[in-house]
């Protein structure tokens, strides 16, 4: 039983100002609900004010990032919360994603009779939990934040409840999500039990803490036995990695991706593809470089096979795919493969993790540009977005067509655009790390990916628009593009082009570990 003095020391370390951005988001989410309950007539004003407030929190996060010293690690809440410059960067990433998802939600919901306030509310809570997830320093906060994120995503995926695709997607995600959370929890519990065993060398006092668990797994007993070699530790670590693998959609845990990405409302697909995936990768890095680092030699072959399978599947599966939402989901698996390659390289090459962060930023910007176009062109049934909807887009809507070509081009990694530099950085890191076989697979994958991304661009640029309504629901919807939406799209496209030519800004910013 801890004494009063010990408790006071713990409570004194609970520095709530350290989580001010997350607190502000939580308060904003609650205030949004209250304001909507009291003044339902002023919903548009309230929602605009929410977005402005989110922008203010984003500005505050930028200030926090600029003030953070590289290499300095802050630990708060008795080890629950670990803040570095990289987690400050991820705060900016998630807040910017949240703003863009809110904007997409605005575009998506304006013609549909679906609840608006609740959408914004859940996006805010999901963003705050993502921000806490990447800062988690023990498995308690890690799991609670992850579950808040997952449950929020279930609701958002089922948001268009009149569409059976949306409900089907939510059910599939619920089942795979619950399954993967179960595996993850089982793995955590096994490691907890092992690290708390007083008869093993280097017993951890708080076995759920990442740093203490890592120290325990790295400890060696008097007879030369290594904790990391315990079969129980191996089973626990593998279960945890499988659980995280489901969240990032690495093969063979990608089964849920195509249906969920197709059925979810377009803004939610963007949230899944960008923010949720980035959170998963950051957490995977935290786990592999922290508590599971002593087991690297045992885990590496399995991770390498998963990376190769992810790269192969992600680039072969989208071939011949006509539904653009499924295309985004399946090609997202390919991007997950490239990111996994970067994470593997990060074990030996110290700047590789910065390359992964740069890739995440570039991928996010290009994806949001594409999703903005998709949200404007989505027909009544949102999950039914076909390549035919894009035929002759350049001629019908030069702005949407141009943004689409730049976004898709960056995702494909075509030279003058940012995606090329991001891919090149990861490949150079993999080359320096000596992962030659995986590098060959990744390069082949890039060649294949250009083929299916080009199919989309070809439909938008080269093919003639349909002359008349074919009568099967494939006639073009008429998008109404608000000035804000035009500004956002042009901004995303310009950033993609500029980062392809001049990267000093962002590479310097992410030049940290």
């Amino acid at each position: 039983m801890p004494t009063t003095e010990e408790l006071q020391t713990i409570v004194a370390a609970n520095n709530w100002t350290a989580v001010l951005p997350e607190l502000l988001l939580g308060v904003l989410a609650l205030a949004l609900l209250m304001a909507d309950a009291f003044w339902p007539r002023h919903r548009r004003v309230i929602l605009r004010a929410t977005m402005a407030a989110q922008g203010a929190v984003l500005a505050y996060a930028v200030v926090l990032f600029l003030r953070a010293d590289p290499g300095v690690v802050h630990v708060y809440f008795a080890g629950s919360l670990v803040q570095t410059q990289a987690t400050e960067l991820m705060r900016i990433f998630f807040l910017a994603s949240s703003l863009l998802v809110s904007h997409l939600g605005w575009v998506y919901l304006q013609n549909r009779s679906l609840p608006r306030t609740e959408f914004f509310h859940i996006v805010l809570v999901v963003t705050a939990s993502l921000m806490l997830l990447v800062q988690a320093g023990n498995f308690v906060l890690f799991f609670v934040a992850l579950e808040t994120l997952t449950i929020g995503l279930f609701i958002l995926v089922a948001f268009c409840r009149s569409s059976r695709f949306s409900l089907e997607a939510a059910l599939k995600m619920l089942i795979t999500g619950a399954f993967s959370s179960g595996l993850l929890l089982f793995g955590i519990v096994l490691l907890y039990g092992l690290a708390g065993n007083p008869l093993l060398p280097g017993t951890a006092e708080d076995p759920l803490n990442f740093a203490q668990l890592g120290a325990f797994l790295g400890a060696t007993g008097a007879a030369g036995e290594v904790n990391a070699a315990q079969p129980l530790a191996l089973i626990g670590a593998v279960l945890i990695l499988v659980g995280v693998g489901f969240k990032i959609g690495a093969v063979p845990f990608q089964i849920w991706i195509p249906d969920v990405y197709q059925g979810a409302p377009t803004p939610v697909t963007a949230l899944l593809a960008v923010a949720s995936k980035a959170g998963g990768f950051f957490v995977l890095h935290v786990l592999l470089a922290g508590p599971l680092a002593p087991m690297w030699d045992t885990l590496f072959p399995a991770l390498a096979v998963i990376t190769a399978l992810t790269l192969l599947f992600g680039n072969i599966a989208p071939l011949g795919q006509h539904n653009v939402k499924r295309l985004m989901g399946l090609s997202g698996v390919a991007h997950a493969g490239v990111l996994l390659l970067g994470l593997l390289a990060a074990h030996t090459v110290d700047w590789a993790f910065a390359a992964v962060l740069f890739y995440l930023c570039v991928y996010a910007i290009a994806s949001f540009a594409v999703f903005e176009v998709m949200a404007h062109l989505s027909p009544e049934e949102d999950s039914d977005q076909d390549l035919t909807h894009y035929t002759g887009l350049m001629r019908r809507h030069p702005l949407l067509g141009g943004v689409l070509v730049i976004g898709v081009g960056s995702l494909a990694g075509i030279p003058p655009l940012a995606g090329f530099i991001a891919k090149a950085l990861i490949f150079v890191a993999a080359f320096q790390a000596g992962l030659y076989a995986l590098l060959v697979v990744a390069l082949l994958g890039v060649v294949v990916s250009i083929y299916y991304y080009f199919g989309w661009m070809r439909a938008a640029v080269l093919r003639e628009p349909l002359e008349e309504d074919p009568g099967d629901g494939r006639w073009y919807p008429q998008p109404v593009i608000a000035p804000v939406a035009k500004f956002v799209m042009v901004l995303l496209a310009v950033v993609t082009v500029v980062l392809g030519i001049y990267q000093a800004g962002l590479t310097e910013v992410v030049g940290l570990r």
């Binding site: 039983m1 609970n14 009779s113 449950i151 609701i155 948001f159 409840r161 008869l199």
Partner: protein, 173 residues
């Protein structure tokens, strides 16, 4: 004596759990789940974790399984179709693999040394949980509040009927 009690309650926890997985009628699965939870609570009592045992019975057997039963009643679930031979074989294989792994981990060469119960931190009283929750894990505890809030809002959003957009004070833009 304690050993025999352990074996009895362990069987009570495991055998009904198996029936939860294989029974084709949802009601039977839910009732078996209660039995399994009672067995698990008794095991916790044997470990002197009384508070956890009470919580398990109150929250799971008392609230969650009753909720399951209500939902089963409301949606009037039919019994699931019987599964094919391949599923049975795969399940049996997985089951034996699991038992084998568990035995190897406990008694075989993969075993870790067993700690005496007296070495463990006592988790018998609510005080111990309260201290941990409100000092070390206060942040996670607060996040749980938001988790429950969005779960509640989610249920409302997905289940309620929406009015036409014109009735809500104009379109969004």
């Amino acid at each position: 004596m304690t050993d025999w009690l352990f074996y009895f309650f362990a069987a009570l926890a495991v055998v009904p759990a198996l029936f939860v997985a294989v029974s084709r009628k949802p009601v039977n699965a839910a009732m078996n789940m209660i039995l399994s939870l009672i067995g698990m609570a008794a095991l916790l009592v044997l470990l002197e974790a009384f508070f956890l045992a009470v919580l398990l019975v109150l929250v799971y057997a008392g609230a969650i399984v009753v909720l399951f039963l209500f939902i089963i009643m409301l949606i009037d679930a039919d019994s699931a179709p019987s599964s094919g031979v391949v599923t049975w074989l795969a399940s049996a294989l997985a089951f034996f693999l699991m038992v084998f792994t568990a035995l190897t981990l406990t008694f075989g060469e993969w075993a870790v040394p067993f700690a005496e119960r007296g070495d463990m931190a006592p988790a018998a009283v609510a005080y111990a949980f309260g201290v941990e929750l409100f000092t070390r894990h206060i942040l996670a505890f607060q996040v749980t509040g938001f988790l429950l809030l969005i779960a509640m809002i989610g249920v409302i959003v997905i289940s309620r009927k929406m009015k036409e957009p014109a009735a809500e004070g104009g379109s969004a833009q």
